[in-house]
């Protein structure tokens, strides 16, 4: 293990501990709710990174995947009257199926065509859930979805849920990290640059693309299931193209392909609108303008931009020092 990696791992451990003690100091339920939403969003972005970040294919249907996970878990919990954990397993299965199904079009259509396909998919899902009134309650939504519980311990407050989601997100982060920085992550990335060359290396690119889509869909569906039991209420009008767009914005702000960036993207995009609330009516437009300017001026993501700026200042400072040193020696 190199020294650099050791530092990285130490950083991550410190971050983990810091995040674990958060609810001990934050007693405000509203903040904890925002934290929980960050954790759920982070799971989605970690998944989206595989498809839009690494293989470079535009997936604008994340809200549809998210909705399928949420409804699958909520419906089975309600109608089969079983634990939400089974719902979570079902969400994983649903994610796997969506991944296999959505992966197929990604073999045939590329670029904007794929973004249109995924938008169409998400819209069909949303309209289906709003129209199956007998089962889903239609546009009224589903209420009183049971929270998670473990051996009789109910995760029914924001603080308790924070720990649960934290563990799940950390696990999701671990898996994503392991995949992205392995030969699989490498082959996903190479697919973005040049698919023909990958195929000529003996790689079944159809299989790899479907794998990437399946990972992405499982993350999305799991996050959806968590969301349903976290909110206790779901409504099809939440799962719009606006939601899909938000997930992609998180990915962009964090930087395409970077796992740590994914987390920062989720944090920034979830918190920034909350911080801009003082602008009242103007907060959404301000937020959008900030994001648009960011997309135009920092195409590698904000995290990267900050890191670069940091490096530049360090360089300038050390250059100055070097100059001063020379001056002294002279």
């Amino acid at each position: 293990m190199t020294k650099k990696m050791k530092i990285r791992i130490a950083e991550i451990i410190i971050l983990l501990i810091a995040l674990l003690v958060v609810p001990l100091f934050v007693k405000n339920n509203y903040y904890l709710l925002v934290f929980n939403r960050i954790l759920i969003n982070a799971i989605v972005v970690l998944g989206l990174n595989f498809i839009t970040g690494l293989t470079g294919q535009m997936n604008l249907g994340m809200a549809g995947i998210f909705a399928l996970g949420a409804y699958a878990s909520a419906l089975i919990t309600r109608y089969a009257n079983i634990s939400p954990w089974v719902g979570l397993l079902l969400a994983i299965a649903v994610g796997w199926v969506i991944g296999q199904c959505l992966g197929y079009p990604s073999l045939r259509v590329k670029g904007v065509y794929l973004s249109l396909t995924t938008i169409g998919f998400a819209e069909v899902i949303r309209l289906m859930f709003s129209n199956l009134t007998d089962i889903t309650g239609g546009t009224q939504g589903m209420r009183n979805i049971e929270p998670y519980s473990l051996f009789g311990f109910k995760f029914d407050t924001q603080g308790k849920m924070y720990y649960l989601f934290f563990v799940i997100t950390a696990f999701g982060f671990f898996i994503a990290w392991r995949i992205v920085y392995s030969k699989w992550g490498r082959v996903f990335k190479s697919l973005r640059d040049n698919a023909e060359a990958v195929e000529m290396s003996g790689v079944d690119i159809a299989d790899v693309k479907i794998k990437a889509f399946t990972i992405c869909a499982i993350y999305g569906a799991v996050a959806g299931a968590l969301y349903a039991h976290f909110m206790g209420y779901i409504n099809p009008s939440t799962f719009t193209i606006d939601m899909s767009t938000n997930f992609v914005i998180m990915l962009l702000i964090g930087g395409l392909g970077s796992v740590i960036g994914n987390i920062f993207g989720a944090i920034i995009v979830t918190i920034l609108p909350e911080m801009l609330r003082f602008l009242d009516d103007y907060y959404l437009i301000t937020f959008s303008i900030i994001v648009l300017l960011g997309a135009i001026f920092f195409p590698n993501g904000w995290v990267d931009a900050v890191v670069r700026l940091g490096k530049k200042t360090i360089n300038i400072i050390s250059d100055k020092r070097a100059e001063n040193g020379k001056a002294v020696s002279r």
Binding site: I175, I179, S182, V187, K189, E199, M200, S201, G202
Partner: protein, 264 residues
Amino acid sequence: MSSILKASNVTKKFKGLVAVDDLDFDMKDNTIHSLIGPNGAGKTTTVNLITGVHDLTSGSVEFDGKIISGLPTYKIARSGIGRTFQNIKIFSSMTVLENIMVGGHEQAKLGLVRGVFDFKASKAEEKKLREKAEEILNKIGMYELKDKLMKNLPYGRQKISEIGRAMMNDPILILLDEPAAGLNPSERAELIQVITKTHREGFSYFLIEHNMDVVMNISDYITVLNFGRKIAEGTPKEVQNNEEVIKAYLGNKYVTKKKVSGEV
């Protein structure tokens, strides 16, 4: 010598246009076999037919005793054929080492789920892959550049790196589609050196090239195409003195001058 790559009656039509017409050739193991011909003769199409990028209209391609025509590209690649591209196809946002390592993706057999949870196995596999890639980089003289981003490399280096990537799969045969195009003389010399050196170590090369210096210097055998048809084949010497070949390259009026220089 046994045959390694054999094309029998290979024909490819694109909407009525016959790109390759009833082509036969038989490439021997452990040779450098070149396919030459004027622009539009169907050379790149032939490579695309061998690698399964295009489907054959009729005929068959045999590699190492097995029919490969009709197989998908990745299966042909797995059977032991590597390839470089006329217009380079590199992973420009990745480092040189990573580029080469992608070539060995199929060599590493660890599955996705085991790769995540089995730290030891995945680490060992990654190490093996990296060492192999570094060894190949040494072979093609690019070890020092391994951590550079591919897009920052000069064109010649990028082209040679494609040969390295192809080698990761332990191929027996590597198809080179115009490797010297766009290279300056010193890069070209380096390319020839890489090809001849690795050829001595056991790689067979099927070469498509316009630059006759390169072709005549390193080829063991040459097949000449014109308008999709084979018009001649033989050793470099035989081909240089073939009337049909001279006619195809220079036009009818040069045929009477029997003596022809190396510049075909």
